[in-house]
Symmetry: C2
Subunit: 228 residues, 2 copies
Amino acid sequence: MPGGYRQFCPIALASETLTQRWMLLIVRELCAGATRFGEISRGVPGITATLLKRRLDTLEQAGVIERYAAGHTRHAYRLTRAGEELRPVLAGIGTWGQRWARDIRPDDLDPGWLVWAMHRRLDTAAMPPGRTVIGFIFSDALPHQRRFWLVCSHPEVEVCLQPPGHEEDLIVTTTVRAMAEVWRGLRPLTPEMRSERILLAGRLALRRAFPRWLKLSMFAGVERQTRP
Amino acid sequence: MPGGYRQFCPIALASETLTQRWMLLIVRELCAGATRFGEISRGVPGITATLLKRRLDTLEQAGVIERYAAGHTRHAYRLTRAGEELRPVLAGIGTWGQRWARDIRPDDLDPGWLVWAMHRRLDTAAMPPGRTVIGFIFSDALPHQRRFWLVCSHPEVEVCLQPPGHEEDLIVTTTVRAMAEVWRGLRPLTPEMRSERILLAGRLALRRAFPRWLKLSMFAGVERQTRP
DNA sequence: CAGGATCCGATTAGATACTG
DNA sequence: CAGTATCTAATCGGATCCTG
């Protein structure tokens, strides 16, 4: 009985595809706006290309996503109507996770993913006209994962693993955990800045504007519960 | 990376335990009111006792359920507050499954599970005082799965695989598929009865009352969609 | 960039038999 | 009834290398 449950219960039928490994994270990426294979892949680090392709095929067969041509020889993925209706399901799972899932472990603290998650929701409209470059320094990360840059235009935001060649307008020095906990909404940003656990360097106007650029996780407003 | 995703995203953290095989079906049973190991097991046919125990342990560790003493040397399971908050999540998944999941395949049509599902939601209050015995005959099932009996008191309902020793008050003759589709809300009951795809035998008053006893699936009211 | 083709290894599911 | 214990097989995930 590989995969299936042999039950006609709607929960069992939905589970057959949705609870396969990586599935929900892939759908999450599509909900977040990813369309290309590479984008999805970056949002789901850990999955191999082979497996990602298999999962995308399964999702397509299940009617959750569809492939479409994006330029000749290129293609992309988007949610179907059925897929769109997974948004509230994902929202429910995320809300539950925010409230009740286990605490963050050191292993979970991938700075690359954190930056990737932040870049997707940056409010470029609130930023100064022209280009703004934000540099991140994660003091607790491994050497090759210590520095990232967000090159923000309107409305594109690009993530760079190498110096982008433009001067930084703002440099954020912090730990992955501090930034992740703020992004999750587990701690408010302002006190972290005051205590310099998150340290900004750059022009005062930019430092003061930064909190408005940074849109936190969708679930940041959901209050975490503690198990008895 | 066995099991986990190494991501601090709430969806990923919740998925770590919730998307393990059988998990959602086990939680479904607990939501439906099962408390004892054997009850859960009957609602999730296919899972072995070994695996069910492992899953229950994992759920307990995750804070979703708790074990408690039920009589000496007996114990039982119940949802914690965190577990209770999975109800809306399950409801969302079931709703999605009702609308968009794949069609029922012959393999899914387990008559034993169908009867088990029906017995949980029978409205005994709407039934005549005293005991009512309903017999089911599934003409399309394998010989050893053709006949079932529901022995209904107030409010207990017992499922019997052997003749219970009391005369049947009502006998329902049908196919597993017809009954399952009605239970899922994919077809209304009355036309099935008129066309005798679901055939009742017994006193007229009971035959006419039967539709009121039978509470369908939680998702029967959700309209199924067809993929383009 | 977006995969395809293999290959290997570990986990895990499942069967079976047994127990307080 | 509510599990344990053990074993096996298979699946699945992941790595590696390759390609239009």
